[in-house]
Structure formats: C-alpha cells, structure tokens
C-alpha cells in the first residue's frame, strides 16, 4: 500500500518555512536592517523598487563577511550571533535564529557583496535558478550589500497575496522608520527607485525624532527618563494634543528592538488617566532596557512580541514613571481665543493693527524703550489688582464684625502689609478672586490662570482617598449625634460590600437590622450636617460609575467619594481657602485633569490679552 504521508523535498520545505519569516517585502527589509545593525554599521542605505517587489537593497558599512562566512550565511540555521543554546538567554543582538537569509534566499534572487575592513578583496555570492550558489571575487565597498530581486518569484501564491504597491511601500517605510528611531546613532538613507526619500544623519534621539516626524514635534512631547538597577526607560510621550485615534504612533523598543506589548501600551494609557478617552491612543516612543536574561523575545516569528519575567513589575514601573513625567509637565490647556474668533471680531483686531503701527512710529523705536514700558505697566497692573484685593478684604462681612469701629485704620494697615511683600517678590500671586463662586482666577507669570474649584478639590480628595485606601490609615471623626439612614435593599447590599473600603476612607458605619445604617464616624472632609446625604450620594455615584465605566472598585470608591465631598460650584471661598486649595492642588500628582477627565486649569496668556487689546 502506498503511504499517503511523504516527507517533503528540501526545496519545498524551505519555501514553506520561509513563509514564516518572509511574509512581505517589509519583513525582508526588517531582517536585512537588523543584520546590518548587528554588524555594527554606522550608515545604512536602503533602495526599494516597486515597493520591494522587484528590488530591495540594503548596504551598510559594517563588519562585512569573509568568503567562508558568505558561503555559510545563506545556509539554514547559520548565524554569527549565538553559539550555544545558553546564549539565547542573553540575546543582545536583534537577530539570532539564523533563518533570515536562508529563508529569503529560498524565495528570491539573492546577491550579497561583502568586504571586511582587513581584506583587500571582497566576495560576492549569488543564487542561481538551480538552487546552487555562485561565488565571485571582486573589489567592493567595505561592509555588506544585500540585494533581493524578484521576491516570491518562485512562490506565486505569496506574490498574489501581496497588496498594492502603495500599501506595501507604506509597510516598508513604517518598518524603516521604526529601525531609524530605534538606532538614532546610525545614519539611514532611503531611496525609492532613484529618489532619495529619507536622509537621516547620525544624531541623538531627540534629533532623530525630529527628522522622522517633524521639526516642531518636540514641543508636543514630554521627555521620560528613569534609570534603575533592574530596568531603564527613556524616550518621549506625547502631550494630549498629540492624541491619535489609531494605534499608529506608538513605538516601544525593548532593548532597541521594536515590539508590541499590550501590557505596556495599557500602562501608558493608564498613566494619562483621564486625559484620554477610550479610543484615544497616546503617542509614545519609549525605550525599555532590561537585562536580556529577564525577557524572552523568541516567542514570535517576527520577534514582534516579548515576554517579561515579571510582567506586573514592568507594568507598574512604566505606569509610575510616565505618570510622574506627565504630572511634572505643564499640561494646562492654554486658552487661545483665535480658535473661536468670529470673523467679525478678527476684523476688529485687524483694524487696530495699522493704527498701532502708526502709534509706534511716532515713538522712539530704540530697543531699550519697549521693555521699559512693559515692566512699568506690569507693575501698575499688580498695584491695581493689589488694591482691589485689599478693598475686598476690608469689606468682607467677617472683617466688619471684628473691626466695626476701626475700619479706616484697618484699611491703612492692610495696605502697608500688602505692599511690603510685593517688593520682596514673593511667590504669592498678588490677586486671587472667585468668579461667580465657581472659578478661581489668579495671576501667573505668563498670564491668567483659571481654576475650576470643584474639580480641583475633587482631584485633591481623590488622591487623599486613594492614599487612605492603600495605607489604611483613616481619619474618622466620631459624631456626637450619630445619623441614621434607611437604604433600599440593593443599596444596603452594596454598602455591605463596600463597608471595608468606606471604613478605610474614614466612614464608620453600623448596619442595623435589615435596612438601617447608623453613621457613627465620617472622614474629615465631609461637611458637618451633610453626612447622610454624602453617603447616599456616594453609593449612587458608585452604582452609576460601575454601570457606565466599569471602574475598579477602589478607584470607583475614591472617585465617588471625591466627587460627592468636594466643594461645589456655588460655594463661597475665602481668600485663604482659595490659596490653600491651589497649594494642595499643585501638590497632587496630576493637577491638570480631574479624576473624571475634565480639565482643572485653563490658562490665558498675557500675549493673548495683548493681542486682544491690540497691543501687539
């Protein structure tokens, strides 16, 4: 009986195996670039024709290969990168399997020209139609130049499934750029046909990022840098203005190798907290350096994925580092009126412009003159606002009660006090006012800062609550008059579930009977007299958060608590309270967005005012 199972002939098997490594022209380029980088190249030139379908050529000025090496390199499992199995544990090079060239050779017309630095004469190797290789001697540039022609010429199925030239070229360029980003010290050139498309000179990461993306991208990036014994991270994350609706611009390099890792992507996303909405993808270029022993990159055919020894640690590390970088950076949305300018208003500004010029032409135009005016007027503004605040202080009702008979003297004293620190240039901003019992306005160096009091307080309480949940050091003020509330059965069940969390924040509750709850103690931030309401609101908010956002229990509790205990829009604040609020806000890790993702601070620059008033 004929057996139906046969061992495949060598040449078919190798074509099939090649399919694993070589999926499309882009994979060829990736493999070749990796080889060049591993060969210690300083400059790499790539030439592509017809999106790599007819030609892919990668030339480098790396170590080069001798004739013996060349003969071996196109064989299966031939590699210079590892010697023993143990080396797999500590891979420092990009490639290591010894499959790439042999796979490529199986599905294309391959030619390699190479010359080492020490040799006078180089070697070229070429595969012929019969499957054999031809070797020639000649003089070549130092380094190695690999030329792949007619990819998949002998695998029609593959060729058919290649996408259009545009799509394949896009893949190639993406791959090229990823390589260029991961090795900024290497110079890269990219020719499409005869056109030089990209020319990246050898630079540092910052310059390379500029080269690859755009000249001004650095303005929209926040640098990240943290070194520990175990793991290093550096790179950039995008400010929220650089949000993308697709995963496109996310570059994670693990020991200089481009990898995809959902976990780390998630860590970055989480670090943005609620600046981002679901469906937004932050821009990032991150380089992780970990001891190669602690990772396994040999789990994906294209080495696109990697495994960490301790996935969780890496996750938290990335989360913490990025959170800090973002938090320490100025993420305040700046108010630009121009965006919402109606055409009519713009006209007015334009009209002012020429008259301004005329005015200036009348004045002496010496350079020292201008700043003089500016600093003078700034001082005047300070004084102006300062005196307004003084008036407000003396007229506040409490002050009246305390000093009903000596108002005039008091005012004079106040004035002296308030002018004294102004001269010593203290940090305290000269004026701080509450707008409609809702927003706090304050002067900052660059203009005007507007803070939403409710969300600001919410952010403070949120972090405080999280801290208490983690450390379990509650502050629970016992009540003289315990409050009894009646809850419906579902809320009552929920309360039982959450009692542990609530008590860690500082609530002390006693469940009595079926649906009665006795509030015996509350956290310090709960206003006196609002205990029952706050608790009920927290439960309400918790349920709706759970339904709509599916938050983690702890996070949800902290959010619900902070939302319901924070001062509300409409609450009157004293100046001292406002200053305290701002101080505490900036002591938090993320003073720019509230736990729900709303902005806390908006800035209007003095330039914007200048423009508005035609002072340009």
């Amino acid at each position: 009986m004929n057996s139906t199972i046969k061992i495949l002939p060598e040449n078919i098997a190798s074509k099939i195996a090649a399919g694993e490594v070589v999926q499309r022209p882009e994979s060829v380029l990736k493999e070749l670039l990796e080889n060049s980088i591993d060969a210690g190249a300083n400059n790499i030139e790539v030439v592509i024709k017809r999106a790599g379908k007819s030609l892919i050529q990668v030339c480098d000025d790396g170590n080069g290969m001798t004739e013996d090496d060349l003969k071996l390199c196109i064989l299966k499992h031939a590699t210079s990168k590892i010697i023993a199995f143990e080396d797999l544990e500590v891979i420092k090079t990009l490639g290591f399997r010894g499959e790439a060239l042999s796979s490529i050779a199986a599905v294309s017309q391959l030619e390699i020209k190479s010359e080492t630095k020490d040799d006078e004469i180089g070697t070229a190797i070429k595969n012929d139609e019969s499957g054999g290789f031809k070797i020639e001697k000649g003089s070549f540039p130092k380094g190695t130049c690999v030329t792949i022609k007619n990819l998949f010429f002998n695998v029609p199925a593959r060729r058919k499934f290649l996408k259009t030239d545009t799509t394949e070229l896009k893949h190639i360029i993406n791959s090229f750029n990823r390589m260029a980003l991961s090795h900024p010290l290497i110079g890269f050139k990219f020719f499409n046909g005869v056109d030089l498309v990209y020319d990246y000179a050898s630079r540092n990461l910052k310059e390379r990022v500029k080269q690859v993306f755009s000249e001004n991208i650095i303005d929209a990036l926040v640098p990240v840098n943290e070194k520990t014994d175990y793991i290093n991270i550096h790179g950039y994350v995008g400010k929220p203005s650089l949000l993308k609706k697709s995963r496109g611009d996310q570059y994670l390099f693990l020991n200089s190798r481009f990898v995809l890792n959902k976990n780390i992507n998630h860590a970055v996303f989480t670090a943005y907290e609620n600046i981002l909405e679901k469906g937004d993808y932050p821009f990032f270029i991150l380089f992780l350096e970990i001891d190669p022993e602690r990772i396994d990159v040999n789990i994906h055919p294209s080495k696109l994925e990697a495994k960490f020894d301790d996935e969780k640690d890496v996750y938290h590390f990335v989360l913490a580092v990025i959170k800090r970088s973002l938090g320490s950076f100025d993420l305040v949305p700046s108010m630009a009126f121009s965006e919402i300018d109606s055409p009519e208003e713009k006209l007015v500004v334009d009209k002012f412009h020429p008259s301004d010029k005329n005015d200036f032409s009348d004045r002496p135009l010496s350079k020292q003159y201008k700043p003089e005016i500016k600093s003078f007027s700034n001082e005047e503004i300070d004084l102006l606002f300062g005196s307004i605040t003084d008036d407000v202080i003396t007229k506040s009702p409490n002050e009246t009660v305390e000093q009903p008979f000596g108002r005039e003297e008091k005012k004079e004293i106040d004035h002296q006090i308030s002018t004294a620190p102004k001269n010593t240039e203290t940090e305290v901003s000269p004026f701080i006012i509450q707008l409609h019992n809702k927003y706090i306005l304050s002067q900052i160096k660059s203009g005007l800062m507007i803070i939403d009091q409710h969300v600001a307080h919410e952010r403070i309480l949120y972090e405080k609550a999280l801290g208490r949940l983690d450390t379990n050091i509650p502050f629970s003020q016992q009540l003289l008059f315990p409050k009894k509330i009646k809850l419906d059965p579902s809320k009552n069940e929920l309360l039982k579930e959450l009692n542990d969390y609530l008590s860690r924040i500082g609530f002390q509750l006693k469940l009595k009977g079926k649906d009665n709850v006795l509030i015996e103690g509350v956290p310090d931030d709960v206003k006196k007299g609002t205990e029952e309401k706050v608790l009920e609101d927290i439960l309400e908010e918790y349920v709706s958060n759970q339904r709509e956002e599916k938050l983690e229990e702890k996070d949800n509790i902290a959010k619900s608590y902070s939302c319901k205990t924070a001062i509300k829009a409409g609450d009157k604040l004293e100046e001292k309270e406002m200053r305290l609020l701002i101080d505490k806000l900036f002591a938090t890790s993320m003073p720019y967005v509230c736990p729900h993702g709303r902005p806390i601070i908006v800035k209007i620059s003095i330039d914007e005012f200048d423009r508005r008033f035609g002072r340009t």
Binding site: V401, P404, N472, I473, Q477, L480, K528, G529
Partner: protein
Amino acid sequence: MDFKVNSKILEKLLSRVIPAVPVRTPMPILENFLFELKDGQLNVCATDLEVSLRSSINVAASEDLSIVVPARLIYEVIRSLEDTQINFSFESNSKLKLTTDKGTYFISYSPSEDFPEIPSVSMTKEILINGKDMKKAIDQTSFAMSKEDMRPAMTGTLLEFTPDGLKFVTTDGHRLVRFINKNIKTGSEEHYIVPERAIAVLTKLLGETDVKIYLGKSNILFNIADIEFISRLIGEKYPAYNSVIPLENENLLKVNRAELISTIKRMMLFSSSGSKQVKFSISKDSLTVSSEDIDLGSSGVENLTCEYKGDSMDIGFNTQYVNDILTHLDDDEVMFKLHSPTKACIIEPEDVLEGEEIMLLLMPVRLNS
C-alpha cells in the same frame, strides 16, 4: 428744621449702630441709617434684616421727621471731624446740610417709607444679666458653633432657661460646649437659638453694664446701656444634646492646661496637612502625646506629667479641636473624663467659679488599630 449736635457725641452714637449696616447687600436701602426725630430724640437705626441696632440721643429739635441717609458717608464725615458743633438742617430738596465752623456738607437723603421695619419685641418678659457674665459665657462657648449651614440650629447658640439656671450650649456635631450660669433663674423653661451673627455683634457690645434681655416669638432684644440690639432667632429644633452627654466616664486624667496647650501647638505642626489627628497614649500617671504626618514622613512625641486613674488607653483627637477647647478654658488644670477610645470625652476645668459650670464634650477620632 434745624438742630445742633456735638460731633463726638454723634460719632459715638453712629459707631454703635453701624455694625448692623451690611457691607454688600442686594437691597441698597439697607446701606442707610434710619434717622428718626421724635419728641426731641434722635433715633438712629440700622439693620441687615437679621440683626438690627438702635440707639438714640436727645437733641433740641422742634419737629418730628423720619428719613434715611447713606450710612458710610455720614459716618465717615462725622468721624473725621474734630470736636465741634454740627448744625443739621434738612433742606426741602432732599438734602441734608451739615454746617460746622469749617465748612458745609450736603448729603442726599430719601424718605423712610422703604426702610424695612425694625421688628418689635414685647417688653413684658425681662431678664437681667450682668454684662461680664454674659460675655464670659459667650466667649467660652461661641467657638463651637457650626459654620456649615446644613443644620441651621447648630449654627447658633442655644440659650436654655431651666430651673438650674441659664445654659449656653453650642455644638457642631463633633464637639459640644455647655456653660451654665446658675444665678439666672426665671422660673420658666424655655429655649431660644441665637444666630452666630448676633453673637458676634453681641461680644463687641457687651461690657460692664447690665444687659436686659427681652424674648419674643421670633426675635430677641438685648438692651445694653442705651443701645437696643434686636436679632432674629433660629426657629429650628436644637439637637437633643443631653442624651449624648456620657455619665459613666470614670477614667480621669488631670493635666496642666498651659503645658498641654504648648504640646498641642507643636503637634499641630505635625498634623496640619495629612491626618489632622493627635494621639493621647495614657497609662497610670503618664501621658504621651504624639502626632504623625504620613505624607511628609515627620512625627513628634512628647511626654507630660499628669494624674491618671483608670484603664490604659490610646485615644485620638482632631488636633485643632483639642487646641480650641484648651484655649477657651481658663483654669490651670484641666480634667479629661474618658470612657473608651470611641466614646465621647468630657473635658472640664478643675475649679470653676461659684454659680458657674462648664463642660466640653469632644468626640474622638478613630485610631487604626
């Protein structure tokens, strides 16, 4: 119509009344004084609808008149004048003309019809209190009034007339102060809640002179010398505070007040931002006070000599509250009467004056075990 008055006498009169003039008000009419001339008396009134002040002097005026004049303007003018005679004359064009030896000032006035009526209180029930006694009671209790207006009753001071005397009670739900003046017995049992604003004005007015109190249904009138001070009462039910005063606090801690205040002041530095709490670790005749700021990683501990009889315990308090309570007592030694770390603590001075009694109640902060 004219009358003459000395500037200093008028200034004194106006300065008594001006505390009731509101600073910012949606009703501009309230920024005026009501000037009433009647039977040779000048009555000056001001009100912010919650409290009203009225005072009067005798002037030689022949006619009766009732007008409103801008309070701040006239007060500032009179106040800045030297000791001199001012001639008031009311011109027909709604102008009040003030003439001194230096010059002439015109101030517009308006008719008094729009000025809100000052509530009247029936004078039938009169209670007489020494001004100093009243001031002391208020000084020792007012700090514990609640500042949150969620429960209006707690934002005021409870005046409770009982057979034991007149009780002043304040609480904000975390602490409670009860001051009893045993000398004032009216025979009837009644209670009234005086708003915080009135208490604040009252402390300024109280002095050596006796105070006559008249109580109406919704207003209270204090007659201090020649000033009448009328305040709205809070028409709410005061919490049943008697039921929360513990009777079985048998662990007694006696400690020097000044020493403890000094300790607490330092503890406040360590408990200001984060926890706000101070821990009392008490065992036989030894008190250890400690506080910790987790966020900044700083902490402080102090040992005080004390007398203590009872079970050893650790009890936590809001540092600010302890400070408030201690600074409002005036005896050398204070007594903490404790039950357990989660039950109310009673704080009393060791000695009190004859006819007085003061008790402060403080709810502890739960310490994590």
